[in-house]
């Protein structure tokens, strides 16, 4: 099959590799679309994967091609998306169903071969069927949609009437904004430094989308100086972390969602304000997945797509064939042009 193989940091090649074979309890999935995650760029060009050579790509959907021995819940032809974290099932986190916190996990696209390829193998229990009416492009965005939902759930969700401030209007930030709208937020503000992202947010109906340098002033004016109930840091930038903390009201919730890009120094005044105002900080990591339940982040994200609560297609800025993806990934790294969600099509 054709695949994008990472041989070393920055050494990404489009080449032929053997098609993987599903073992017992595993399924071979023909990849229809695989999204490029924000984390894929540093993974490919800076940090590297856990081993080489390795195929990246963990946000994908496709069609079941073949089932390994003992597979019962899916059959060839089923449209599926895949939770890319492979949990051990034996640790204390797994025992409680907190698979993303597994102490011995494996991961498609960073620790073992992922979906920047024509085919990928995954355990049966990691597969979810895609509901009718949800396209495979949308289904390939289940992972970021689940991550965005999980971030707000970590903060106890959003209550109707609350103000939510989101720092970073990339795909995840825009998905957080959509979830906040579904949950009944009365005001949603998005901040970014890239004009195209601000414009896209406005096109999606988020009228309070502004340049980040005005964040504190905007939030103060939207909330009579009280601050936002929920602030989501979705950029991973030190300044936006400080802004998210500064914009939270007394008793407010700050969610740390963006992967950190550098050290943040908390000024004494802000630190003190976090204490005086009893602000709650929530880390969020990945998403909650369940095999036999339907109220986890993944099933909920798919249902939200089927019900039309989330509009994900406007987030897709590029669809590129696998053969041209090396070029696109380099362009993303170099910041040549505007990218929102990029879908690779094997």
């Amino acid at each position: 099959m054709n695949a994008l193989v990472l041989h070393a940091v920055g050494d990404l090649r489009y080449e032929q590799v053997p098609t993987p074979q599903p073992g017992a309890g595993e399924v071979l999935v023909r990849v229809a679309y695989c999204g490029v995650c924000g984390s894929d760029i540093p993974r490919i060009f800076v940090k590297g994967t856990y081993r080489f050579p390795l195929i990246c790509g963990h946000e994908f959907a496709g069609v079941v091609e073949r089932c390994g021995e003992g597979v019962q819940r899916v059959s060839p032809g089923d449209r599926v998306t895949v939770f890319p974290l492979l949990w051990c099932g034996r640790c204390s986190a797994c025992e409680r169903g907190r698979y993303a916190q597994c102490e011995h996990y494996d991961y498609l696209g960073s620790r073992r071969d992922g979906a920047f390829a024509e085919y990928v193998v995954a355990p049966e229990r990691n597969l979810l069927k895609v509901p009718d009416g949800v396209s495979l492009q949308e289904a390939a965005m289940t992972e970021p949609a689940a991550v965005a939902y999980h971030a707000l759930r970590r903060a106890g969700g959003v209550a109707p009437g609350e103000t939510v401030a989101i720092f970073g209007a990339g795909p995840i930030g825009l998905m957080v904004a959509q979830w906040a709208r579904v949950m009944g937020a009365s005001q949603i503000a998005l901040f970014d430094v890239v004009d195209e992202k601000i414009a896209l947010a406005q096109r999606l109906g988020f009228t309070h989308a502004y340049h980040s340098h005005r964040a504190e002033e905007i939030i103060a004016s939207l909330t009579q100086g009280k601050g936002a109930h929920v602030c989501v840091e979705a950029a991973g930038v030190p300044q936006t972390l400080l802004q998210a903390c500064a914009c939270a009201r007394s008793g407010g919730r700050v969610v740390l969602l963006g992967n950190p890009a550098g050290d943040a120094t908390v000024p004494t005044g802000l630190w003190s304000q976090l204490m005086r105002r009893e602000v709650n900080l929530f880390g969020t990591w990945n998403s909650e997945y369940a095999v036999y339940s339907e109220d986890d982040d993944w099933h909920t994200a798919l249902r939200a797509m089927a019900e039309g609560w989330l509009q994900l297609m406007p987030l897709v800025s590029h669809q590129v064939p696998l053969s041209e993806a090396v070029h696109t990934l380099h362009a993303m790294r170099e910041g040549k042009g505007f990218f929102c969600k990029v879908l690779i099509q094997p």
């Binding site: 169903g97 907190r98 369940a290 095999v291 036999y292 339940s293």
Partner: protein, 360 residues
């Protein structure tokens, strides 16, 4: 042990009041399973209900039958490992000769509740001592199935403590459900083995005042030994007036109902304060009629159900081993397997006995 074909002594339940002492084959280990030689196994109130044909176990017009006779009863067991199926040793950290308990429930591992780690509420569960696939501990040997939740027990624990691990896990969970805070006035009603275990567990939370209720004074004496600050006997004491006096008229903060009797529920609803935590643990003999408005409009109560002892077995084993959890006086009798009928009758009457163990 068991070269193939070996037999053992076991009690088997065929029908209400038709329990027989028999010789049956010693179980052989299949992959993932543990075979133990039973050291002791308690007689639980549930076993007594089963013996006398309780419809919640034997079924009636509205409920299916849960028990699958013929079955070896008993779920409060401890045993010594005599054989390990493939993989069981690594999975449970056990070797032949170790002592081990298994939780009362054998969860399916593939329902919604199991998926979320709420295995004690498993939809497709098996329960030791009632089900064909989970034969119990009133026998010389027993099998812990591959799905069982098995824990090693230190040799240092005396038999009468090791056999209490299961009921104490249930007690600990009920106390956890009550969310006791420092300073709380806690009332635990019903000083059977489970209620006494709750007193011992609640003692470790150091509430403001820990009060035990029962109609039998000898049980209240044991409750005092296990850590109750005060005991009241509703047949003699005016419990309502006393709680009012002790709490400036507010009522107790936490009430744990373990009497098995409707009166225990009514009393609790009466003496608990507004917004208090009411824990229901009992398997009640009959439906309870209460003024349901008390829960909402009158007191805005938090009512917590409590079932089994999830995630409590390792804690109970640890606390017992370190001598933190008291159990003195809970086990009153140890009988040979052949005396099982006498044991059941003793538990049924509940006069001088509290926990009765069968020792095969």
């Amino acid at each position: 042990m068991s070269e193939t074909g070996a037999s053992m002594q076991a009690v088997r339940c065929y029908a209400p009041e038709d329990y027989r002492l028999e010789r049956i084959p010693v179980p052989e280990p299949r992959p993932g399973e543990v075979i133990v030689q039973v050291e002791a196994c308690g007689i639980c109130a549930g076993d007594v209900k089963c013996f006398y044909g309780n419809p919640s176990i034997w079924g009636d017009a509205t409920r299916p039958r849960y028990v699958q006779p013929p079955v070896v009863p008993g779920h409060e067991f401890v045993g010594r490992v005599v054989a390990l199926g493939e993989g069981a040793g690594e999975r449970f950290g056990l070797k032949v000769g170790d002592r081990a308990v298994a939780e009362q429930i054998v969860p399916c591992g593939r329902c919604r509740m199991c998926d979320r780690g709420m295995y004690w509420l498993c939809r497709d569960r098996e329960i030791f001592g009632f089900r064909e696939k989970a034969q119990g501990g009133w026998a010389q040997y027993m099998r812990y199935p591959a799905n069982a939740r098995v824990y090693r027990v230190p040799d240092s624990l005396p038999t009468e403590q090791a056999a209490l691990i299961e009921p104490l896990a249930c007690s600990m969970h009920a106390v956890d459900r009550g969310q006791i805070q420092f300073g709380d006035v806690v009332v635990i009603a019903g000083m059977g083995p489970l209620g006494l275990g709750m007193v011992a567990c609640a003692r470790l939370k150091n509430p403001g005042l820990l009060i035990a209720l029962d109609l039998r004074d000898h049980r209240l004496e044991i409750a005092k030994r296990l850590g109750a600050d005060m005991v009241l006997n509703p047949s003699r004491d005016d419990v309502r007036a006393e709680i009012k006096r002790l709490t400036d008229g507010y009522g107790c903060d936490v009430y744990i109902e373990a009497t098995g009797h409707p009166q225990g529920v009514l009393l609790g609803l009466d003496i608990i304060r507004k917004a208090g935590n009411f824990v229901e643990f009992s398997v009640l003999q009959e439906p309870v009629t209460v003024d349901w408005t008390i829960l909402g409009d009158v007191k805005e109560l938090n009512v917590y159900g409590s079932h089994l002892g999830p995630y409590c077995y390792p804690k109970v084993i640890d606390y017992l081993t370190r001598g933190l959890l008291k159990t003195d006086g809970i086990v009153t009798h140890q009988l040979p397997l052949s005396d099982f009928r006498h044991g059941i009758e003793m538990v049924h009457e509940g006069k001088e006995s509290i926990k009765v163990l069968l020792v095969p």
